[in-house]
């Protein structure tokens, strides 16, 4: 998005799983890039960590991504684990009731 902050997403091995690390804002403009990394991670493992510690903003498109990823991995017998982000991200997750529905950790 024009004028938007710098966004990046990368993927690396983390223990038994693969961590997808997003940095910046997850919204309609960037969500597809995160989705692509999660899809790529799913071809390698059934344990995907979505590391949101450096994510400063997430909107409904990001929430949908978490719900989808979680549902798809569960269907394969795997799991999507969220590494909790900053206050802005936590507020959105509280708002939609993600706590207790999707596994969340503070450290990968």
């Amino acid at each position: 998005m024009e004028g938007g902050p710098v966004f990046s997403v990368s993927r690396r091995r983390a223990g038994d799983g693969v961590a997808v690390v997003a940095v910046g804002e997850i919204d309609l403009a960037t969500v597809d890039a995160v989705r692509a990394e999660i899809d790529a991670a799913r071809t390698e493992t059934t344990l995907v960590l979505l590391d949101l510690r450096d994510v400063t903003f997430i909107d409904s498109a990001g929430v949908r991504l978490v719900l989808e990823g979680s549902r798809e991995l569960a269907a394969e017998g795997g799991e999507l684990v969220i590494v909790r982000g900053g206050p802005e991200v936590r507020r959105v997750f509280d708002l939609v009731g993600l706590d207790g529905r999707v596994k969340m950790v503070d450290e990968p």
Binding site: D59, V63, R64, G97
Partner: protein, 663 residues
């Protein structure tokens, strides 16, 4: 080289002559012969000419017979009392033999050898002149124009290509023309359009002792208005009379035009793709065409019985104002026999590199004055075709630059018009699509807000950027058995699919809400309907159910509504799970006792997620914007104003706001 050799010959001849005078002071005849040989050596002659002139000097004054053997392979006769065989040697090299017959003494023999040396030098020089001649012949066949200037800047040589490039019939004609006149025939510019001064030409710089880079020059011939692009290179060469500058002038007009056309069309395509407002697009195309393609560019389309100008561009805004007022006073009627109206009728482009005299005669005196004022020289009118019908005309006019239009210009303009036509067609299709989307969108929102005793409602719906289709935001207000239900929701996603889901969500809530009269049950109903779907369809909803003097507030993954009381806004309602994610979700209402003057604002995340220069709008700014809001309408306009002031760039998401106040 030539000059040095000739100079050496002259000096040598003088020294020899001095020596000769000392020993044979009386023999003026021999002295004259040696001087004659020196003259031969210093004159641009061919080899046969050198030999003929040398023979004239020797026979009969010195010898009865004289023959030269120069590279012809004939056997050299033996020397005897009446035959002298003299080698023609110059700079240690024998170039031939001179055979003299007559009666000679020892002094004669010595003289003959000296004379032979002069002839050899003359022969060598003749060879060099021949080389230069063949160089000239080679230059003459070059496609690049080559000229040679002497120290004063006068042309001393030009090949045929140079003559042709500068508009002369022959090299001789070019050489006979004063340099000032040649330069003045053109108006010359740098690539960036700034005027080129004569001192900046590489040839001039070379003559001034500099080593200039090749220069790209745009030259417009004053007489014809024809535009040429040239790369001019110059190198210094030492000459007989001093330094010479050799100019190589390469005509790159075709290459430059192709390059500019590509660049222009690429820029035009970007402009055409950047907006779906076609009048705005055409205006920007006109800006782009000036001054590269023409001095003026205007775009006009038919409207009622006349041509209406939608774009007009010139580098000088003052002139644009003048032309605009002119266009307003003298609009072209659609039935005009010539000009844009004719092009619009025929769909055929016109190029006029002369403004027809007839136009000047029949035209209104004010029109004539305007044409003079604008200095119109040439015009090119190209139809914009959409679905094979002309829908407008792009006019290009040359004035102060004195240029005319080439076939390449017409080709480029036609291509531009074709692309503009496609863009207009796309814009039309887009408008049609927008209309469909708007119709669909209206189906997602109530036709008008209901009148509710004791409550006043206000709403705002701001769809995302014009290029986006129907979004997933909705709001509704409908009666239940116990009171009134106000709903704001957001289905994640865009386009027709999201619109369909949004419509379904709105109607499910309305139906369940009306029948059951319980907002929590309505949310459960919608959640089950969404959870049944194979494709995940998350949806967030906030409900305010107003019964008597109480409002029950429920949130399903949705931002909490804001209650403005005593001028301060605060969120109300418990957080509840998003709809469509988990079938067993439950929601509980938070009751709020209403007081007169209370304002409740329901909104979608398009408000808080709006992007500003550095940050998102956020809840805090929203709370601040609502401070002091006295009623529903005031609350909505306060948010609208704050958002408009805050937002930077295109709006990324839909925004829906529904507010109520208690009277």
């Amino acid at each position: 080289v030539i000059g040095a050799a000739a100079g050496g010959a002259a000096l040598g001849a003088a020294a020899v002559a001095a020596a000769w005078r000392r020993r044979h002071a009386s023999d003026q005849r021999r002295f004259a012969m040696i001087r004659g040989a020196a003259v031969i050596a210093d004159t641009a002659l061919s080899i046969p000419e050198v030999l003929a002139r040398a023979r004239e000097l020797l026979v009969p004054r010195f010898a009865a017979e004289c023959e030269f053997h120069v590279g012809d392979g004939r056997p050299t006769p033996a020397e005897d009392a009446a035959t002298m065989v003299v080698p023609l040697r110059s700079r240690g090299r024998t170039v031939g033999t001179m055979v003299l017959r007559g009666s000679f003494d020892a002094g004669d023999r010595e003289f003959a050898h000296l004379f032979g040396g002069r002839v050899a030098l003359a022969l060598e020089n003749a060879g060099l002149f021949a080389e230069l001649e063949s160089l000239e012949a080679a230059l003459g066949t070059l496609a690049e124009a080559v000229t040679i200037q002497d120290e004063r800047g006068q042309l001393v040589y030009a090949n045929d290509a140079a003559a042709a490039a500068l508009g002369f019939e022959s090299a001789e004609q070019l050489l006979a023309t004063p340099p000032r006149e040649i330069v003045d025939a053109y108006e010359s510019f740098h690539e960036d359009g700034s005027p080129l001064r004569i001192e900046e030409l590489p040839g001039r710089k070379v003559l001034a002792g500099l080593a200039p880079d090749p220069l790209l020059v745009r030259a417009v011939e004053r007489r014809t208005g024809e535009e040429r692009w040239r790369i001019v290179k110059a190198t210094p060469v030492p000459g007989r009379g001093g330094r010479l500058a050799v100019n190589i002038i390469e005509d790159v007009t075709d290459v430059k035009r192709a390059e500019m056309a590509q660049r222009f069309l690429a820029a035009a395509s970007a402009v055409l793709a950047s907006s779906l407002d076609y009048e705005e697009t055409l205006a920007r195309i006109a800006e782009l065409a000036v001054p590269r393609l023409a001095d003026w560019c205007s775009v006009s389309v038919p409207e009622k019985d006349r041509m209406r100008s939608v774009a007009l561009a010139h580098v000088d805004p003052e002139k644009v104002r003048f032309a605009r007022s002119y266009q307003e006073r003298f609009p072209t009627p659609l039935n005009a026999p010539t000009g844009t109206a004719q092009v619009l009728r025929d769909g055929v482009a016109q190029v006029m590199n002369e403004i027809p005299a007839a136009l000047m005669e029949v035209a209104d005196p004010e029109v004539r004055e305007a044409i003079r004022e604008l200095g119109m020289r040439a015009a090119m009118l190209v139809p914009i075709m959409s679905r094979e019908r002309p829908i407008g005309v792009i006019s290009f006019v040359m004035a102060e630059s004195r240029r005319v239009f080439s076939p390449a210009d017409l080709e480029l303009a036609s291509e531009l018009a074709r692309r503009a036509g496609t863009a207009v067609e796309n814009a039309r299709l887009y408008r049609e699509r927008s209309r469909i989307a708007a119709t669909l969108q209206r189906g997602l929102l109530p036709e008008e807000l209901p009148r509710i005793p004791g409550l006043r409602l206000a709403s705002l719906y701001r769809p995302a950027g014009p290029e986006n289709l129907v979004g997933g935001d909705f709001y509704d207000a409908f009666p239940t058995a116990a009171g009134w239900m106000l709903v704001v929701g957001d289905v994640t996603g865009r386009g027709a699919e999201a619109a369909a889901q949004t419509g379904q969500a709105r109607h499910t809530l309305r139906t369940a809400g009306t029948i059951v009269g319980d907002p929590a049950a309505a949310l459960e109903q919608l959640n089950l309907a969404l959870a049944d779907r194979r494709v995940l369809t998350p949806c967030t909803v906030a409900i305010v159910h107003v019964t008597a003097r109480t409002a029950d507030v429920l949130c399903a993954g949705h931002p909490q509504p804001l209650l403005v009381r005593d001028g301060a806004a605060r969120p109300v309602g418990h957080f509840g799970p998003i709809l469509g994610a988990w079938p067993d979700s439950r929601w509980s209402p938070q009751p709020v006792e209403l007081a007169a003057g209370d304002v409740i604002v329901l909104y979608t995340d398009g408000v808080t997620d709006a992007r500003g220069a550095r940050e998102r709008f956020g809840v805090d700014r929203l709370v601040a914007a609502l401070a002091g809001a006295a009623d529903a309408a005031g609350a909505v306009s306060a948010i609208d104003g704050a958002l408009s002031a805050f937002q930077r760039g295109a709006q990324a998401d839909d925004t829906a706001i529904l507010a109520l106040d208690v009277t």
